[in-house]
């Protein structure tokens, strides 16, 4: 594929969004230092502006169909990379907007907060383009460094420190595994580019190497059995960072997983399908069952996130283009529903300073808007029509049933019912229980904006997903060799009207 953007003819322009973001985040840092009088909220808006420019740039690339590779194929820009970049940038915008009020709680380094968030976003944008083992390692670590700091940002809070420490130690361990896995794979094949590795036979070194790499990526996405950092880190981290962690790094890690499994390991599909089936079943079941017992909403969403990842892995296990489309679509629905739910958590936490589920009692009486939004987001996570989550789940199941993964589908369906229980427990608290304190809660405009975006996304993706389905189908065209694409039946109309 050749580069077709006719600006100056320089290939470096493929990285234009990343370059803009790099400059912008330096700008944010400089503004923060140079104008100490400036209210820190302005930095939030400044960051959002920058991200909006980047987003516009990405959309423009996507519409124009820009694609190509850089640095001897280390950096690849294709429609899938663009999809994940748009997802990450969109999530970052929402997270920054949602952080505006929360940042008031920090006593120090309010300005650097935005810088760190943008830096992590930059790392994740590079992750979406990583095309060899080295760039995978570098971008993964690059995106995680920001998070190590951000998770421990509430300096006086013991839970936040614990979260940071836990995340750091396990994260570094995962990085070690990744590096070791890369060295083994490189030792066996002598190649580092994903398309060139294209393993055709298992050798012990390759098996161990890929298992280590998978373990490290599994740590990123929080799949069982690599999930142990998730609940404590989610619980202790500042809530906007929890929201950020729950979607953006996972999405970016899926970009790498897709390239790794579908490009490098395509020939060995029967072997890794089993691995993914196991991990998926464990994640769904463990996440959903443990979530039932949670008293803290952040922990509950953490466990529900583990279960959702199990759901997404069904699509990966399907190992077809349709499975991949389903993953992309599911991530979109998950972005809106999960970020929306966390936005409500942030709004409530800003107002009553509590994340306990018990304190959500009677939320409907105190703020009908927040309760309704939470209802929509939770039901979308549970997969209830007409919300986005339902279409996402169904898409995944359709991809899986075409590959005859019956066990996975049955476990997935049973888990829908289990998850319904704990989501409804929150709904019960909000709508049925009476509040102890009846004072109304007033939501700030920036939080309202985030929640409205989440609501709009959840409803539109659920009711009219056609353009989005077409988008994800187009984004994964390069994988159409994986399995025969779904033959579309010509519209059969026995009754002409």
């Amino acid at each position: 594929m050749t580069f077709t953007l006719n600006l100056t003819g320089s290939d470096l322009l493929l990285m234009l969004p990343e370059i803009i973001l790099t400059l912008w985040l330096c700008g944010v840092l400089i503004v923060d230092f140079a104008m100490p009088k400036l209210p820190k909220e302005q930095l939030a808006y400044l960051s959002v502006c920058g991200l909006a420019i980047v987003l516009a740039n990405l959309v423009w690339f996507d519409v124009k169909g820009v694609s190509g590779t850089l640095f001897t194929n280390m950096f690849v820009l294709d429609r899938m990379a663009l999809f994940f970049k748009i997802l990450v940038v969109g999530a970052t915008m929402l997270v920054i907007l949602a952080s505006r009020d929360y940042v008031q709680r920090f006593r120090f380094f309010k300005g650097e907060y935005y810088f760190l968030v943008l830096m992590s976003a930059l790392g994740m944008m590079f992750m979406a383009s990583a095309n060899d083992l080295l760039s995978m390692f570098i971008t993964l670590e690059f995106s995680t460094f920001g998070f190590y700091v951000l998770v421990a940002y509430l300096r006086e809070d013991v839970a936040s420190n614990e979260a940071g420490l836990k995340f750091f130690i396990l994260g570094v361990f995962a990085a070690g595994l990744l590096a070791y896995g890369i060295s083994l794979v490189y030792g066996e094949t002598g190649k580092i580019l994903f398309p060139e590795i294209a393993a055709t036979a298992w050798t012990p070194g390759l098996v161990i190497g890929f298992l280590l790499i998978f373990a490290s990526l599994g740590f990123k996405i929080g799949a069982v059995p690599f999930h142990s950092w998730i609940p404590d880190t989610y619980h202790g981290a500042p809530t906007p960072i929890t929201a950020f962690l729950s979607i953006a790094p996972k999405a970016a890690a899926f970009a790498i997983l897709l390239r790794l499994f579908f490009v490098s390991l395509a020939a060995l599909k029967p072997a890794w399908v089993l691995l993914l089936v196991g991990v998926s079943i464990l994640s769904m079941t463990y996440g959903n069952i443990v979530a039932i017992a949670q008293k803290n909403i952040k922990r509950l969403l953490a466990y529900s996130g583990i279960a959702q990842i199990g759901n997404i892995l069904i699509g990966l296990a399907a190992g077809t283009k349709m499975g991949e489309d389903a993953i992309l679509f599911y991530l979109l629905t998950y972005l809106f529903a999960n970020l929306g739910a966390f936005a409500v958590v942030i709004a409530v936490s800003n107002l009553i300073r509590s994340d306990e589920i018990e304190d959500y009692s009677g939320l409907n009486r105190r703020s009908p808007f927040l309760a309704f939004a939470m209802l929509v987001f939770l039901l979308s996570l549970a997969g209830v029509p007409p919300l986005a989550g339902f279409i996402g789940k169904l898409y995944i199941f359709l991809a899986a049933i075409k590959q005859e993964l019956y066990t996975l589908i049955i476990v997935g369906l049973v888990n829908i019912v289990i998850s319904m229980y704990y989501y409804l427990i929150i709904v019960k608290k909000m709508y049925i229980n009476e509040p102890t304190d009846r004072s109304p809660l007033v939501v700030s405009p920036s939080m309202q904006a985030v929640i409205y975006v989440g609501l709009a996304g959840t409803l539109i993706l659920g009711i009219y997903p056609k353009p989005f389905i077409e988008w994800v189908v187009a984004a994964t065209l390069m994988f159409s060799n994986l399995a025969p694409a779904a033959a579309v039946v010509p519209s059969v109309l026995p009754f002409g009207g």
Partner: protein
């Protein structure tokens, strides 16, 4: 204009619920008027639908088809046949009546009407969907509003409320207590309902996914699947069982029924009406639409399962209703008992009996709607559902009492009401195939008479209880109109069932012909504009003189 009738019926309540979002909660009257207005649009459109549906032409009419996702083979495909049309009408009548029945709700009116409208619209959606995906979409969508309606505006049982000491409080909220019959909280009832129905829905979804996979057609279009999908052997049996038990859980057939009376009892009046009146019929309807249409051979082989289970439904429901002391439990169990009749009518796979089953769904919707509406009125006035503590209310509320008598008579199946015709059709139609079940059904009618009259005596007659001397009758038109509407519907179609019968037969005949293979299927897969595939000759059984060109 007229070809969009289905869209009006379906989207009027949705639009109403969206409008309600923008009305402030403290202004009660606009909220009620918007809800009533949107339900009225739906009602008028479905009356038009009912009379504009052409039984001579038969088949699916008022077709609307919009592509929804080409990649997944889903289209938004609406159309009604002779089975869907009466049920659409029943839903919109009950929705309209239900809005007036709940006119006096004070707490969070806006939310109440939003959820009620969404519930009703989703139910209507199922009755007119010709796409498996959307059938499931609306089906699942109708379940969730129930949770909030029960939880927020429902009522606890008497035994539950009586448990006030600390140990009892702990006991009543413990998990082990959930098996205690009749002592349930509304939260428990709501959760049980949603989990049961979701579990059923998930079974059905598995069946739908298997249909999608093994038909190999990459479509959810029921009509295409009906003509072209071929299933046989264990796979067909498996799919059929998944579909049947998945949807029968909402119907509710005997071993899967336990959520239903609990849910009815906890629900506010309008919700019980919709729930017992139309939500339960989603089960029968979906079985007819999916299992009967797509798997006709398997239906013929396996439908005796329903004939066996319906005996338990009828007798078990009847006896429990006889011994229950809670007004809503009596009506709830009577509903699940009466749904056994519908299963009997379906199981016999006969022209008359299946028509009777469809008619019975409509008739039962009206009768049970009235009963729940009045049980709700009595509860609002006395704040109890406990029959032994009530009595002599006829002096306080003569209008309600007389309506209650009519409703009981309708429920029993007195000549003059549409229930009578339906019951007779089921009994006559099933006699050849299932004489034992018919005898049980007749005993069931006697039982119905026993428990309904007993409840009526308990509530309205006997010595007057002083405690309830403040209770008053329904005097305003707002309170009387919905009851009169349902009574009038029930009696009108009891006396003039002609058009109704023609409509139902136009839907039932081709279906039964396919299942019983009066005419073997012709599967040339023609996709011309005509109602294709089966050229259907009138059989000896349907020589009633109706001109039905119900060819599919």
């Amino acid at each position: 204009m007229a070809e969009y009738t289905l869209l009006y019926i379906l989207f009027a309540p949705f639009v109403g619920s969206i409008l309600l979002l923008f009305i402030p909660n403290r202004r009660a009257l606009p909220v009620r008027l918007v809800a009533a207005g949107s339900a009225f649009v739906s009602l008028i459109a479905s009356l038009y639908l009912f009379y504009a549906y052409d039984p001579a032409k038969g088949g699916f009419q008022f077709i609307q088809k919009y592509e929804w996702s080409k990649e997944l083979g889903i289209s938004f495909y609406l159309g009604v046949d002779g089975i869907g049309t009466p049920l659409v009408l029943a839903s919109s009548i009950l929705l309209f009546a239900g809005i007036f029945i709940s006119w006096h709700i004070k707490d969070r009116i806006k939310e109440f009407y939003i959820f009620l409208l969404v519930l009703a619209a989703a139910t209507i959606g199922v009755f007119m969907c010709l796409d498996l995906f959307f059938l499931y979409f609306f089906y699942e969508m109708s379940v969730l509003p129930m949770y909030l309606l029960l939880g927020m505006w429902g009522s606890h049982t008497k035994n539950y409320l009586a448990m006030t000491s600390p140990e009892e409080r702990e006991k009543r909220d413990s998990v082990g207590f959930i098996f205690n019959f009749g002592s349930n909280s509304k939260e428990y009832a709501a959760m049980k309902l949603v989990l049961f129905l979701s579990a059923g829905a998930v079974l059905a979804l598995m069946g739908i996914l298997l249909i999608y996979k093994f038909s190999g057609l990459n479509t959810f279009d029921i009509l295409v699947l009906r003509e072209q999908a071929k299933f046989s052997g264990p796979l067909a049996t498996l799919i059929w069982l998944l579909i049947f038990f998945g949807f029968a859980s909402i119907a509710p057939i005997w071993p899967l029924h336990s959520w239903s009376p609990v849910g009815h009892a906890a629900a506010p009046a309008a919700t019980s009406m919709l729930h017992a009146g139309v939500l339960m019929k989603l089960g029968h309807f979906s079985i007819i639409r999916v299992a009967f249409e797509i798997l006709p051979q398997t239906t013929r082989e396996l439908m005796p399962i329903a004939a066996i289970l319906c005996v338990f439904s009828i007798m078990y429901g009847g006896f429990v209703a006889y011994y229950a002391k809670d007004t809503k439990y009596v009506i709830g169990y009577s509903s699940s008992s009466h749904m056994g009749y519908v299963f009997l009518g379906m199981a016999a796979l006969d022209y008359i009996s299946l028509s009777g089953a469809v008619l019975y769904m409509f008739a039962h919707a009206m009768a049970t709607g009235m009963l729940f509406a009045m049980a709700g009125w009595v509860y609002d006035q006395t704040h109890t559902r406990d029959i032994p503590s009530l009595g002599g209310l006829v002096n306080r509320m003569p209008f309600i009492a007389s309506c209650f008598i009519i409703a009981c008579m309708a429920s029993i199946g007195m000549p003059g009401t549409v229930n009578f015709i339906a019951e007779v059709m089921i009994i006559v139609g099933s006699w050849n195939k299932y004489p034992f079940q018919v005898i049980v059904a007749v005993v069931g009618i006697v039982l119905t008479m026993a428990y309904l009259l007993r409840m009526m005596r308990g509530i309205f007659y006997g010595p007057t209880v002083e405690q309830y001397s403040h209770a008053h009758d329904a005097v305003g038109w707002v309170d009387r109109m919905p009851l009169l509407l349902m009574i009038a519907t029930s009696i009108f179609f009891g006396i003039f069932p002609g058009h109704f019968y023609n409509i139902i037969r136009s839907g039932v005949d081709p279906l039964i012909a396919r299942i019983t293979e009066v005419v073997p299927l012709k599967t040339d897969g023609q996709t011309n504009n005509k109602l294709s595939a089966v050229s259907y000759q009138p059989s000896a059984q349907r020589s009633e003189g109706h001109k039905l060109s119900a060819d599919r």
